[in-house]
Symmetry: C2
Subunit: 274 residues, 2 copies
């Protein structure tokens, strides 16, 4: 089956068009798409180059491409519409109902969906990133009083990426503490966490998935053995239950979903909006 090319076109980074397109395409199983992001399309020259790439894609595969576009400029959009492709135009679909509702014309300026934030928000985001880096993997327990949340779980359960995502996306101060063998064997929370029980959030994962992740690292020996993985996960979940620590099974979750679930369950307020 020939692959159909999907263009994500934007006068900015293309992240919006990608997000939009990606979540629609997941509704179509069994198709193979060839994704191409074309950011910063802000001149006639660039739209002409894109038009050539669209023509080339049609010629190559015999299928007309799908184009998700968040272009704002009317001339550029008009040129795109003349291409042999299915144009899914994000502004066309939503801008005019919004204009009507707000009884105003949109600025039709080049959008700045990721507009530079004010200095205070910018610094907050940086501070939360630095915090997540400093308090990764059980480091900096002396700064747990600053944490909004402290993730805990066994090695490779997804703590680090979740903490960084919480910082980058939401400005949340997230630390993480890996449960060590001695914690798991004793069945007790380590002393350093006892004073912060209400900030703890657990991550768990299925033994099969954890084993896969650890094996993929070519980890030999006990670390990725079925027995060790099961022991760690069973002990960790017992610990979460014993101390009433809310936890999430991350087996089928992306980092984005884990982060979003934590905010939703704990009620922690985001400090910045992306």
């Amino acid at each position: 089956m020939p692959q159909r090319t999907v263009f994500f076109v934007s006068d900015q980074t293309g992240v919006t068009a990608e997000t939009l397109g990606h979540s629609l395409l997941t509704q179509f199983d069994g198709f193979e798409f060839r994704p191409v992001t074309v950011p910063f399309v802000d001149s006639i020259d660039k739209i002409e180059q894109l038009a050539e790439r669209i023509d080339a894609a049609v010629e190559e595969s015999g299928l007309r491409p799908l184009v998700f576009t968040s272009l704002v400029d009317e001339k550029l959009r008009a040129r795109l519409l003349a291409c042999n492709a299915l144009i899914l135009d994000f502004f066309e679909a939503f801008l005019s109902p919004l204009e009507q509702e707000l009884a105003t014309k949109s600025s039709h300026a080049l959008g700045s969906p990721h507009r530079m934030a004010d200095v205070a928000s910018y610094n907050l985001r940086i501070d939360s990133i630095n915090y997540a880096m400093a308090a990764d993997d059980g480091h900096s327990p002396q700064h747990y009083s600053q944490a909004d949340v402290i993730l805990t779980g066994v090695s490779r359960s997804g703590k680090t990426p979740t903490c960084l995502y919480l910082a980058l996306q939401y400005g949340i101060f997230a630390a993480n503490y890996p449960l060590a063998e001695e914690d798991l064997e004793s069945g007790h929370l380590p002393d350093g966490l006892m004073g912060f029980k209400e900030k703890l959030y657990g991550l768990t994962i299925s033994p099969e998935r954890l084993r896969q992740i650890r094996l993929e690292r070519r980890s030999l020996g006990r670390y990725a053995s079925a027995q060790q993985v099961s022991f760690e996960l069973r002990s960790a979940e017992r610990l979460f239950k014993r101390y009433n620590i809310p936890y999430i099974d991350a087996t089928h979750c992306s980092v984005e979903e884990i982060a979003s679930t934590i905010l939703n369950v704990t009620g922690i307020e985001r400090r910045v909006r992306p």
Copy 2:
């Protein structure tokens, strides 16, 4: 002027609806919106709770809310449409043209825009995150051969968040090296970077913005002085030019834009898609 409430509604994390809505709303200057994200709306109970919140918002402000929704389930969408709000329904707008083009019915399953990636991609993303953390702030120069890109610039020019974003979003291995006073004074690239010139990418920023960022940290003394900031930035830009290092002025750019520009200019291929 009363604030209009904007709901971002999703059966998943809400990130898609937020991204979509946010970039449309930046087209309307002078309005104040009160953003509310409502993720994981996946039952009649939850949609009824949301309907109550919508009614409450109308009552409070006298304005009907804007609702950006990426709900997939038809029953839930129908209930939402009955609310007193402007419903901007992402699936309604684009799903049927896509179905027609692909000559197939969409699965209309709960979407998984952030579907858990395969184990190899997951590990790659984790590896690039670990790399960015280990090679932050001039650390681990012995691993520069692994880097896809090495960002450089003065302190607080945006290197760390950009590296982490490149890792989380694209699986790129990004190191960063802060230009120290001795590098700036000598006018020479430090020895450790000379072998990796083709991987370097510079960040610069306006003196005013950098000063603001540094001052906001309550940095006293020379670090945030106008003279120091200008000296550092002038010297850094001279260095970039002298060694033909491509660079970007990050003054008006978000982290997302810087990252996207770097990929676009260097042609570095993303290793994972979010």
